[in-house]
Amino acid sequence: MRTQVRARNRAYEFEAPEGQKLLFAGLREGVDLPYECATGTCGTCKARLVEGELKDLWPEAPGKKHLKAGEGEFLMCQCAAAGNVTVEVSKYVYAMDPGVCMPQSVSGKIAAVRHLTGDVAALDVDLDSPVDFDAGQYMAMETPGVPGMRGYSMVNFARGTTRQEFVVKKKPGGAFSEWLFSGDRAGSALALFGPLGKATFYPNLAKNLLCIAGGSGIAGMMSIVDRACQESYFNQFKGHVFFGVRTAKDAFYLDELAGFQARFPQNLAVTLALSDEDIPESLPAKYPGLAFDRGFVHEVAKKRMAGNYGNIRAYLAGPPPAVDASIRFLLLEARLAAENIRYDKFS
């Protein structure tokens, strides 16, 4: 389907495969259309239909609350072209930078689901063809028969790999996570699109890293720290990782985090924050290289980072209230420049 996108600065034309969401059709052609969640929630990919017809693939998408009724507005992440279309995006749209990992459609199979806590599982996926991604990015995925895509950040970091690892938290009412948790899903087929997301880390950043993650938000941070460790980044720069969960039994990836920390004991600090209980003695005994503290993750980070904000780039992920609270103290108290605070808003 011939698709024309009229942006404020110029127009783009590309061919959209039948049934493919317009956002994905544009991204795979290197047109950096606006999006954040890419899965029907945030409303960032809003556009207006000028000519032609669309097929709405998820009429119940919650992101529709951001649309103005009666003005032809729609979500590019949920609508496909039904014939040639012209749409208008009231934003500046640029071509993607050369050399970025190009987003693409890819199919895959679930290799394994490993339960990490009562409501969090590691999801390993084998893709049918390799997809390069940057540390901090995510994939949108769905399984046939369960409507609506979900975005999950990659935990691992590798080039040219067909293996992607994710963390999935069971969300009541979350169609994908309920499906994943309700049976043995190894071998199930997945349809994925990605990589997506702009909260990326490159080793040429040359700044100290601050990662603040709540719950399953740790996934993208694992990829960032993994990449930094692969490049021995922490020989030169400091890393501060704060991981917040409710109680000790909600914590996961402690072995992996302790492993990263042990490789760079001088420069990499990892702190687990428990919001709902005091630190059980067993934790520091088992993980002498990790630090532990009681409190919300943004409060613990704020307390322990005081006076340590020189040359810092912060990455944030997790529940929106934790991310918002972190942004607030990093901007107003730590006085970080906005460009050094990176996150992808999913809601």
């Binding site: 127009a11 918002d324 460009e339 808003k345």
Partner: protein, 243 residues
């Protein structure tokens, strides 16, 4: 300038901000910066996010959604992320009450905001206000490029190419946006794009040569305007196919 009463000065404590809605239904944000009052647009120019939900430290206003930031005193972007300035309103405080006046398109514009008052009023004197109905053309590719335009309201679309072989090259919808700026360059024989009126629009038409003479007479303002023009051109060089 039409002036409206907005609130009591005491409604907005020092280094805080509040959103208000005028009788005409227009929303604006009043900020107190160390006892001085400023008024700017209430909605982020990026997406439809209320700026009063953002962060304000008494100097810099930050939208909480994507961290676009502005200097509250000038409305100019700071911090390197924001891509557009905030529309500012003139503020008067009298008898403990805050009054706000709306500014002309020249004053909020991407080229001329912040110029000296005398230069702005000379440019204003050069500006002819034109109302255009939807569907008309302001200029066609190949026309002489003598005048440039500042959008006050409405929506203008650009097409490059001629006759049947045209392609869209973006559109303009923000008060103060400047187009047809080839008229401000030395070598500017003809238009390379055509400008079509998409919605009923009000524009200011200004002769390029006369505007350059005004800017030359006030080199500090002229320098600022030329720097902005260079930035504008660079932005469109980065996006080939633009106006």
């Amino acid at each position: 300038m039409t002036v409206k009463r907005i609130c009591l000065a005491s409604d907005v404590p020092t280094n805080e901000m509040r959103e208000f809605t005028t009788d005409a239904g227009e929303k604006l944000l009043v900020a107190n910066s160390g006892g001085e009052y400023f008024a700017v647009q209430a909605i982020c120019p990026h997406q439809e996010v209320a700026l009063c939900d953002g962060f304000y430290d008494g100097c810099v206003l930050t939208c909480h959604q994507h961290l676009w930031q502005w200097d509250i005193k000038t409305g100019e972007p700071v911090g390197g992320i924001a891509e557009a300035p905030l529309e500012r309103f003139a503020v008067f405080v009298e008898g403990g009450e805050v009054f706000v006046g709306s500014r002309g398109a020249l004053n909020v514009g991407e080229l001329f905001s912040g110029l000296s008052e005398s230069t702005l009023s000379k440019l204003q004197a050069l500006a002819k206000v034109e109302e255009h109905a939807a569907g008309g053309a302001l200029y066609q590719a190949g026309d002489p490029a003598d005048d440039f335009f500042v959008l006050d309201s409405g929506r203008i679309e650009f097409q490059i190419g001629r006759d049947e072989r045209t392609s869209p090259a973006g559109f303009m919808l923000r008060k103060g946006e400047v187009f047809g700026w080839a008229a401000l360059l030395d070598a500017h024989p003809t238009r390379i794009a055509s400008a079509r009126v998409l919605e009923p629009s009000r524009v200011l038409r200004i002769n390029g040569k006369q505007a350059l003479a005004v800017l030359e007479a006030d080199p500090a303002s002229g320098y600022l305007a030329m720097r902005r023009l260079a930035g504008l051109i660079a932005r469109f060089l980065a996006a080939p196919g633009a106006r």
